[in-house]
């Protein structure tokens, strides 16, 4: 069975745990990273990366840019945002993001987005949703 790797950068342990639970059902190996150990990111070869941004943080854009550099241009990046304005800021700064999901995250929508992204990246190894 095909196994995919997802890197999950999310500070909220409960949200991260729920996402991990849902992705594991879809043959994903989920590596949960928090902001403190973000430097390990470059050594991981992931099929998709998920980054959770928070409403009150002033370092969101820097975090996202740092993650994009660490994972490279070929790994799709899914970003969890707290409001629509965050998306506009990210787009204006030309950070390559494959999908945005608004908090509170609907887990079914989350699953579908990840599956769609992984399938479009590796169509020969299609993952069933």
């Amino acid at each position: 069975m095909t196994k995919y790797t997802c890197v999950l950068i999310e500070e909220d342990r409960m949200v991260a745990s729920l996402m991990k639970f849902r992705l594991k059902r879809l043959q994903f190996e989920v590596l949960h990273i928090n902001n403190a150990n973000r430097q390990t990111l470059a050594s991981i070869k992931a099929d998709v990366a998920v980054v959770g941004l928070h409403a009150n943080s002033v370092t969101n854009l820097e975090t996202l840019k740092e993650v994009r550099v660490a994972i490279g241009d070929n790994t799709p990046l899914v970003t969890l945002i707290s409001n629509y304005r965050q998306r506009l800021v990210i787009e204006h700064n030309n950070v390559q993001v494959e999908a945005f999901l608004l908090r509170p995250v609907n887990l079914t929508e989350f699953e579908n987005t990840i599956v769609q992204i992984v399938n479009s990246k590796a169509p020969s190894n299609k993952l069933l949703s």
Binding site: D12, R13, M14, V15, S17, L18, F21, R22, R25, N56, P104, L107
Partner: protein, 131 residues
Amino acid sequence: MMSRINLFSVKKEQNTKKADISKLVNECLGDKEYLNEIVVLLNDNIEEFYDTTEVCIKAKDRFSISRGAHKIKNGLEMVQAHVLLHYVDLIQKECQHLDTFWKIQDILKKFKIEYKLVQDSLLDQINELDD
């Protein structure tokens, strides 16, 4: 003889639950073991919030108290603990004012009492789920 209905004696069916896991059950696809794990995580977060708030009250750091309160909101929303969410809102409102640390302490005391009831309610609801 005409019978009378005492309208004051007609009670509405009230939702007396301190928390409601139905939303979370859907998210966890009914996995009981996993639900217990989520409750453990919630407990950890709340304990962390208690510690942070106690320290920050002593240090008179209202911004950190507000930040700590914000962090637990999502978890409380997941279990639909509305009374606790109300207390969190009150704490955050008090953090906007100077020298209201005694009020925050008072709300925190009420929060702790309510959280014990919420914990019991959560465990009861998980136990009631069919295996």
